[in-house]
């Protein structure tokens, strides 16, 4: 299937499971097409490994369209590789040069234990969402969309926060493995809209408490998360979460 002309050296993190130690293993790939996606290049590698009777590299992927948040991979020291605003599946081999050595590691965080090789368990994010990242609505017919007037700026900001696909690149790149960009995006997308108001202050407290319980680190505002986020989630969300948290703790009379 590969008809290109790129020769690459891959250094891939191989780790049997969460209990054993992992290490980088070298692989040589030849005739890689520059039009391939990074994951397709991994498919070629795995085909070769299977043909040789070796264990293929385990990695997460699903839609391969840049919208599902499943793919990960820490490529040459950056989550989702060298390009801005793309996921690993949308990264193409033309972003590399013939003869390059590419180091691929899994996301590293205590809250994201390695399952195998490049796959980590990101269910900590699910538990943060389950703690409060929802709205409670009555059943029945949906109301007319224009019943709730929402200023355009507000709607846009909520939409931008909602673009978060929960891939975990923010945690992966943060020197503290902090999940604040993710959590703040999930809080903001609801805090900015009228439907999110009834549970706004309860939500921020519950989700922050769950985030802390999962063992993510603390934000030091380096801005690495924003720079590496494939969806361009802004640090404004973290500031909004901090404001809401302060309001919830010091102004709201409701305690959680």
């Amino acid at each position: 299937m590969s008809t290109g002309n790129m020769n690459l050296t891959l250094k891939v993190w191989r780790q049997k499971n969460n209990k054993t130690k992992g290490a980088l293993v070298d692989y040589q790939l030849s005739d890689i097409s520059p039009d391939m996606s990074f994951l397709e290049m991994f498919d070629v590698l795995n085909e070769q490994l299977i043909n040789k009777g070796e264990e293929p590299v385990v990695f997460d992927h699903d839609c391969r369209e840049g919208i599902c948040g499943m793919c990960s991979m820490f490529i040459n020291g950056r989550p989702h590789g060298p390009k801005d605003l793309v996921t690993t599946c949308q990264l193409h081999m033309r972003s590399f040069k013939d003869g390059d050595t590419i180091v691929v590691e899994p996301w590293r965080a205590a809250a994201f234990p390695v399952v195998k090789d490049l796959t980590v368990d990101r269910s900590a994010f699910d538990r943060v969402i389950a703690a409060g990242g929802f709205i409670s609505v009555n059943t029945g017919n949906a109301q007319d969309a224009n019943n709730l007037p929402i200023p355009k700026m507000q709607a846009d900001a909520a939409f931008e926060a909602a673009a978060c696909i929960g891939c975990g690149a923010c945690v992966a790149t943060c020197k503290n493995a902090s999940a604040m960009l993710f959590v703040s995006a999930k809080i903001s997308q609801l805090a900015l809209l009228p439907q999110g108001q009834p549970e706004r202050y309860r939500r921020v407290q519950s989700m922050v408490a769950q985030m802390d319980a999962e063992g993510f680190g603390n934000c030091t505002n380096t801005g690495a998360c924003e720079a590496e986020c494939p969806k361009g989630i802004s640090l404004e969300n973290i500031a909004r979460m901090n404001r809401d948290f302060a309001s919830a703790k010091f102004i709201s009379e409701e305690t959680v």
Binding site: G77, A109, K175, Q205, T220, N221, R240, A246, K249
Partner: protein, 226 residues
Amino acid sequence: MSGFGNAFSSSIGKKFIMGVTGLFLILFLIVHAGINSLIFLDDNGLKFNIGAHFMATNWIIRAGEYILFVGLLVHIFQALRLTIQNRKARPERYVVNNGNANSKWYSRSMGLLGTLLLIFLVIHLKDFWVVSRFTGIPTVDANGNEDLYAVMREKFQDPVRVVAYVLLMISLCYHLLHGFASAFQTMGWNHSKYNGIIKSVGVWYSIIISIIFALMPIAVYTGLIN
């Protein structure tokens, strides 16, 4: 306290404490740099000694001194706690990590810069604060005030001390460059109408404060003022 729950023990609460104490220390540096700048009047330290005398005797300032020490210790211990937690959050480090691609080195090195400042602080307190508060200043100036300026002149005859002070003011500058704007972000002050102001005030503040402090040992040592 039940109503406040985990307000201060949560990750965001701890950050608030870092930010508030940081901003408090930033205000302190303005006062400190302001009073010390009196040496640049080049009046043999007379005005500076008046300022130092006021700072040492005024009861509001003395009370503020205790708050300052508490603030400083809280800032240091909170930083230590946060750093330990943050280390735990990533037990296995990356083999290759290209941090410069996404963030400034000094924003990732606040702990290192802060530790350097702590070492500086110990030396600095021993050089001046212990002398003025405890062991006593040996001489008085023409106004009859204790001559702290003379102590300063004597200390800054030592070239090693002068170089150390200047180098550590560079680490102060970088610590402030990140810390100033970071404190506002932590407290939720991220607003399109203010971000530019906060950023530029932060940069100018960091540079100017550090230059003022660094100029003191340089000016005394080179004899620009006497």
